[in-house]
């Protein structure tokens, strides 16, 4: 089945130690998103790629970076995790062929990040 895969599902890191979360998709969608979701809150968009074009949200901290080496893979790098970065990180994809901002998004299961 076509899907969005996130690895690992659970990640523990130490305060200040860089960590990378990965996302892959078999849907061949041209848009990929990274969200941060804290407990009892809605997902918060960090950035997205439209093909290779990177779009950063204005309030995304510089501590968060992303790479998309090809259509299928996307990575979230947290350069110096703080305690406040502990959250669920969700990857999503969208075909977004119409130019609308709200084409259907397909989410992965998420990676829960713990910062010690």
């Amino acid at each position: 089945d076509a899907m969005v895969i996130q690895n690992p599902r659970y990640q523990v890191t130490q305060f200040g130690k860089p960590v990378t979360l990965s996302c892959s998709q078999t849907l061949n969608h041209n848009v990929m998103y990274w969200y941060q979701q804290k407990s009892s809150q809605a997902p918060k968009l960090l950035f997205h790629y439209y093909d290779k074009d990177f779009n950063n949200e204005a309030d995304t901290p510089d501590n968060f970076q992303s790479r998309r080496p090809n259509t299928s893979f996307c990575f979230l790098d947290i350069r110096s995790p703080g305690l406040g970065d502990a959250a669920m990180y969700l990857c999503a994809t969208s075909p977004q062929t119409s130019g609308r901002k709200t084409d259907t998004q397909y989410f992965g299961p998420g990676t829960r990040l713990t910062v010690l």
Binding site: Q41, P43, L45, A92, K101, T102, Q105, G110
Partner: protein, 110 residues
């Protein structure tokens, strides 16, 4: 800037119809309204999407008034497995952005 607002929580009993409303005063003219369902420790899952009037699929209906400043997700005959958080997502006019609503936690009781 008013984005989207939803009730924080709702309670229902099995077999009842549940209606969850999302207010989105600044919705973008050309954008759709999409609803997602999220279970604990999982990513959101698409439920239904619409632009205006009424849309129905095998799991839900979506009612959108003519001014499109709100939308109502209708879940017919809910079961315990419908206990989840429901989010609306809309594009915001003139900001070229989209926002998730704050989410409505639906608790279905036996």
């Amino acid at each position: 800037l008013a984005k989207t607002t939803q009730p924080i929580s709702m309670d229902s009993y099995e077999g009842q119809e549940v209606n969850i409303t999302c207010s989105h005063n600044n919705i973008a003219t050309n954008d759709y309204i999409t609803w997602y369902q999220q279970f604990p420790s999982q990513g959101p899952r698409f439920i239904i999407q619409g632009y205006k009037t009424k849309v129905t699929n095998e799991v839900a209906s979506l009612f959108i008034p003519a001014d499109r400043k709100s939308s109502t997700l209708s879940l017919p005959r809910v079961s315990l497995s419908d206990t989840a958080v429901y989010y609306c997502l809309v594009g915001v006019y003139n900001f070229n952005k989209f926002y998730f609503g704050s989410g409505t936690k639906l608790n279905v009781k036996p």
